[in-house]
């Protein structure tokens, strides 16, 4: 474990506000367990819990808070200078931070989704959801990491993407679903464990290729941006 990833992990866990991440997955678990124990038909509670809460809310929001936090928090309080002035290649800064962000988001989201998937259908669905949401966490983290280098307000821009693009437009304009990480995750999970609970219009190859493209593209762009990064004080 490199020093950068160590610092990043401590920056995330060292503060009390990390506890804010826990209610979301906990709620997912509680809803799944309550629905299961009361004997509600999984076909009814599956989609709202697994997709409506798990993949559409918990995954992007956790990835947003963590992904913008690993680098954005240091940029905000100016301590990023300490890392930037070390003789490290930029990829040795971006990749460990991306790894930590992905690991934390994936662990926070995949575990409750696995349990909920098992309760809803089968171990296979649980594993499928966990694997797909880990991939989704990677894609979201890469995207939000590069956002925190491109703009001073990464969280709001990330929320525009999550709320307006994926949430609002995804519901009314079907075509935008092709460019939505949420739909790719659903497509991949449905491919690994075909059930009636998940459904999307995006085909699996498209989802896989686009996910890889977002991950690689965002990471390369982040490394390139960090190469010529200028530390500026807050304006406006």
């Amino acid at each position: 474990m490199s020093t950068v990833s160590w610092i990043t992990a401590r920056g995330l866990f060292g503060r009390r506000r990390f506890l804010l991440l826990l209610p979301l997955p906990a709620l997912l678990l509680v809803l799944a367990i309550v629905s299961r124990s009361l004997g509600v038909d999984p076909g009814q509670w599956g989609p709202p819990v697994l997709v409506g809460l798990g993949l559409a809310v918990v995954l992007p929001v956790v990835a947003l808070i963590v992904g913008t936090g690993v680098l954005g928090a240091e940029i905000d309080d100016g301590t990023v200078v300490h890392i930037l002035t070390k003789p490290l290649p930029r990829w040795q800064i971006v990749l460990p931070k991306l790894a930590v962000a992905t690991g934390v988001s994936a662990a926070t989201v995949a575990v409750p989704l696995y349990v909920a998937g098992v309760l809803a259908d089968s171990v296979r669905l649980g594993l499928g959801l966990a694997a797909a949401s880990a991939l989704g966490a990677l894609a979201y983290s890469a995207l939000f990491l590069v956002l925190s280098l491109l703009t001073r307000r990464p969280v709001l821009l990330g929320l525009v993407y999550v709320l307006i693009w994926e949430g609002l437009l995804g519901r009314f304009v079907d075509g935008t679903k092709v460019l939505s990480i949420q739909q790719w995750v659903i497509a991949l999970a449905d491919r690994i464990a075909p059930t009636e609970l998940l459904g999307t219009t995006v085909s699996v190859p498209v989802a896989a290729v686009l996910t890889a493209l977002v991950v690689v593209g965002s990471t390369v762009l982040a490394i390139d941006r960090l190469r010529s990064f200028s530390v500026a004080g807050e304006t406006s």
Binding site: V49, V58, L64, D76, P154, L156, V162, T235
Partner: protein
Amino acid sequence: MSEPTGVIHDIGYQRYTGPRLGRWHVFGALYLHGLRTAFGLGRSAKAKIFPWLVMGIVLVVAAGLTAVRTQTGQVVMTYAQFADAMSWLVIFFVAVVGPELVSRDLLSGVLPLYFSRPLPRGDYALAKLGALVSALWLLLGAPQLVMFLGAAFTTKDGLHGVWTELGDLLPGLLYAALWAVVFASVGLLIASLTGKRAFAAGGIVAVFLMTAPIVGILSIMPSRTVNELAMLGSPTALIHAVGAYTLGDLLVPGGQTEDQIGDFGPLYVTVAVLLVASCVALLLLRYRKVAAR
């Protein structure tokens, strides 16, 4: 011990002898400043991007609805339903403006400066709350006004038609005010907990979004009473239930209100009032303690 030799020179500073405006002027100034901050007025272009993005989207939607109505005569959404349809944008707007109003002051540590004025701590919180409520009400009210103007100028029934339309608009505006009050009090309470705008925005969105599926789950539980009480699960649904109870057909056409909330209308109203009251009370409590450190 020698005699003190220091002298205090009068170098001619003038004292302020004009009128002192007092508490309510401070309150008014803070409220106005908050309202301007909400829309980024008097600040750089960067601060205007997100509020006006949301405002632009709702106005475009309203213009689209008006166009559909004038061309085909079909009412896609009533005024009250408009607020419900825009709920995700309202959440985003609160996530943008709420932290802007209170988190910046917490982070930069200017609160002791505010509280050294004749401004009670509660007034600071209430002025910010008032600003957020007004901004949200404008966000939901302005598009409804656009829709009303479109309908009023194309009505076939003359002045009578305009009058009926106005009768539809006013409940819509009241319903928008309900949205504004509930969302502002919950959102501002969350924002006032942290000085980091990023965390405040994430927290607000998380709270509003994670509560929505609770309603979905409760409404499929195998108990009629639980189904009818399901809308207590999230602020958005709570507002909708109160609206359905008080406005009836204007919000939920076809008299389906009974199916949704049963006889629990008064309970929903009580819970909504309690929610707002407790959020405001917690906000005031928070500002009694904050900046004392």
